[in-house]
Each structure stands twice: as C-alpha cells, then as structure tokens.
Symmetry: C2
Subunit: 259 residues, 2 copies
C-alpha cells in the first residue's frame, strides 16, 4: 500500500457516527504509528480534505471535498439526475426512496427523498454503508454484479442485523436467481426491523451495475398489491435513471417486466 492510499484510507474512518476524530483515536483505529498519522493528517489538512475543529484539536472532513463533489456532479451528474427520479418515485409510491452507489467494494447510500403522504416514514441518511445481504439494494446489486464479486461477498462472514436477516449463502444465492428473473429485489426487516424495502439495479455506460434505486416502507403498510405496484414503479424509475445517466441495462435484464 502506497503512502497516498494510506493517507486516503484515513478518510474512511469518518462516518456519521464519528464525524470528528482525535489523533490518538485515529492512530488506534488505523493501527498506524502516531507520527505517521499526524504527518498524513497534516498533508490532508494542507490540501483542504481535512480541517481541525476549533475547540479540541480533533479532525473532521474539510471543505475541499465539496468542490470536488460539485465537479464530479458536473462531469457525471448522477446525483442531480437521481434527485428528480427519487422525488417522482417517492410521490408515486408515497414512500421513502433512496439511491445507493457502489464505491469500491462498498455500497453507500447517497441521496434520498421522502413522501409527505404518510406520517410514519422510513428515515434515511446519506453516506451510510449498506449491507449487501441485509438490504434490498444490496441484493439488487449482488444479483447483477460480476459473479466473482458476489461470491467474494457471500463467502465472507455475513453479520445478522436483525432476527430476520438471511445469512445463509445458499439461501441468498436462491434469492439472487429470483431477482435476476424479476429484476426487483426485496427485503423485509433484513437490516432494520419493520422495514420492507424493494430495489432495482442501476447500470452504467458499460452495462455494469453501479448502484441501486430503492423504496423503503414500514412493513405493516405493505400488502401484496402494494408490493406489486412498488415493484412496477421501481422498474420504470430504474430504467429512467439508467437511461438519463447515459447507462445501459445488460441484455439479460428483464426490460419489459411489469407494465
């Protein structure tokens, strides 16, 4: 691992639950030498990727990432395009919708929309890591990812998030086959209890899966009829999003399913 990768890997320790990290904590988290962490953080700070909080001297993400994200969006406007699609989809279904993107081997939630229709909603955060086997989005991605990638995920230990999480690799492979048939993944309470979510894959220009579009609703609200409606709406929205970002579904993706 080069020095640059090491420095950038430090950025991965910042999450919603841990937005600021002190030098000693970061040293422990990363397992690197304190002097090394200190110097790397200094360089990240010079470049604006990191800044130090005013009170204590703990580190947090800096303003430079905003500039880069704005440029990325200008070049590849996935998020801005997705916002419209998410909004329309949440209005159509009356439920919370969200988009997640594959970043390296990690699936991250990146954008979401709520519907005002119901008082109870599934709440979402952006930049959260999604479980592959526990979420509909994760299953949708696995079903259409390269087989080696899916196998790597499935052969690693699969944590049990709730009582309903499916953790048997064999059972999941069966699920994935069904998803490949229908084009829509489903998960009931696999990550958070009482959350019923549906998801479809989103494809990039080379017809490879780049993420997933999902609808998440309180489980008690979802009848079979509603599930079918959501699935149909998702398939349409997924195809729209894939097309608008200049992507293309692979030939084997069930294009005409559910009118």
């Amino acid at each position: 691992m080069g020095t640059v990768s090491k420095a950038l890997s430090l950025l991965a320790y910042f999450t919603h639950g841990r937005p600021e990290i002190g030098l000693s904590d970061l040293t422990r988290l990363s397992g690197m030498n304190k002097a090394t962490v200190y110097r790397l953080m200094g360089e990240l700070q010079e470049s604006g990727f990191i800044e130090q909080a005013d009170g204590d001297r703990s580190y947090r993400l800096g303003p430079e990432v905003l500039r880069l994200a704005a440029l990325r969006e200008a070049a590849v406007p996935i998020l801005s395009v997705s916002r419209r699609v998410l909004k329309d989809l949440s209005e159509e279904t009356g439920e919370t919708t969200h988009l997640s993107l594959l970043q390296g081997s990690q699936l991250n939630s990146l954008s979401h929309a709520y519907s005002p229709r119901h008082a109870t909603r599934v709440m979402m955060d952006d930049a959260e890591v999604l479980s592959y086997h526990g979420t509909a989005s994760g299953l949708a991605v696995l079903a259409f990812a390269e087989p080696e990638f899916s196998e790597t995920i499935l052969t690693a230990p699969l944590p049990r998030h709730t009582a309903d999480t499916v953790t048997d690799p064999g059972a999941i492979r069966t699920l994935l086959d069904a998803i490949r048939q229908s084009g829509v993944a489903q998960s009931v309470g696999g990550f958070e209890a009482e959350v019923h979510s549906h998801a479809v894959p989103v494809f990039g220009p080379d017809a490879r899966v780049i993420g997933a579009l999902a609808v998440a609703a309180p489980a008690s609200r979802i009848s079979d009829a509603q599930a079918a409606e959501i699935a149909a709406a998702l398939l349409r929205a997924g195809q729209t999003l894939t097309r608008r970002i200049g992507g293309a579904a692979p030939a084997h993706y069930p294009q005409q399913a559910a009118a």
Copy 2:
C-alpha cells in the same frame, strides 16, 4: 511537498472546462514525471477519487468524493443551510444568488439559486474559481480577511477580466476600506461584462471570513434604489447564514447596518 500533497494536487487540475484529463496532459499540466503521475493516479483510482473513462483512458473524478461530501455536509451543513438562504434571497431580490467558500487560498462558487422573476438572469456554475479583485464576492472576502492574506493577493499580478476590471492595488485598497464600512461589496462588470453583483462576507465559528454570499444581476436592471434594497437584503441574509452555520461576525463588522 510530500507524496500525498503531490497526489492531491493532481485533483486540482480537474475543472468544468477540463473534466477529463489524459495521462500525458496531466503530466504536462503538473510538470511531474509521467511515471510519477501514472502511479499517483493509480493510487487515487484505487481509493475511488479518480476513475478512468470507458472509451479512451482519460481520468476523471471518481464517486468517492460524493461520499465524503455527504459526510462533510452531515458534520458541517453549510451547503444545505445555504440552499434555503440562497432560495429565500433570490426570491426576495428577484435575482441570481450564489455562495462561495474560501478553500485554501482559492475562492470557489459552491451553490446558487435562480429567481423566476425575470427572463434574463445571470447564470452560475458550481465549483468555479472566483477572482478576488474582479468579483464582489472576492472583494467582500478580501475586506474581512487577515491583512497579510489580502496583501498577498493584491501584490500578485491582477488579471484584467473585462474593460471594467479594477486592477490597481491602491484603488482596490480604497474599495476595501469602503466595504469594511458598509459591510457590502459591489462590482459592476469586473469579471463578466454587464453583470452587477453585490456580496457580503460569511463568517465561521472563530469569526474569520469563510466565504461570501452574493447577488448577481444584469447591470441594466440595477437602479440606485434597487442596489440599496439588494444590499439590505444581503446584509440580513448574510447574518442569518453566518448564525445558522454556527459562525459569528467579528466585533468590527457593521452589524446593524440597513434595517
């Protein structure tokens, strides 16, 4: 300059006008050795900061920056807070508004809002570099920045963007004094001809200037009365934004100006 800074400095060559860069171009732009650039870009790619376009092999910003930006916003929600302020301000003034933030020694536009009131509007891009001496935002920042910083900017060569750009450091110092008095900066056609813009500084938690909030309008539309209205609205909006992001104006900032 450490290896990490070198790698990150490569990211700075990506702009709106140049969203994709090939290896050879990047080598020329950066002045580094080709092998060095190649290896650094490889590391940035592994971390998801860079990805390679499908067709040719040129580089562009990767999806990882989106995740970091979402986390930064969760920790320090300047952009999301500013969007409301910008929207209200553009509705109130009927003109285009934008927020720019100081990143290192560079001032970048990062968020904007349009008003539907007029058919002709000043158009904005996010993640564009703003001139200090040619824009109202730049002047607002200079007026309230550390004196050494302002002097560094003013003693460097000041490019003439339009026929109306003020490029004499002495004249600019006089302007800055006036801005410190009124709290509002103004520039007519200093960066783009026919654009009349007003701007106020935005302050961080340590009462240091972190950016500027601006209103930009076609010069022909701005009468003295309208300029006064815009200035008043800007002062109010600037104070709101500074407060909402947990910032504080310095004691010498004209707080009560224009009720």
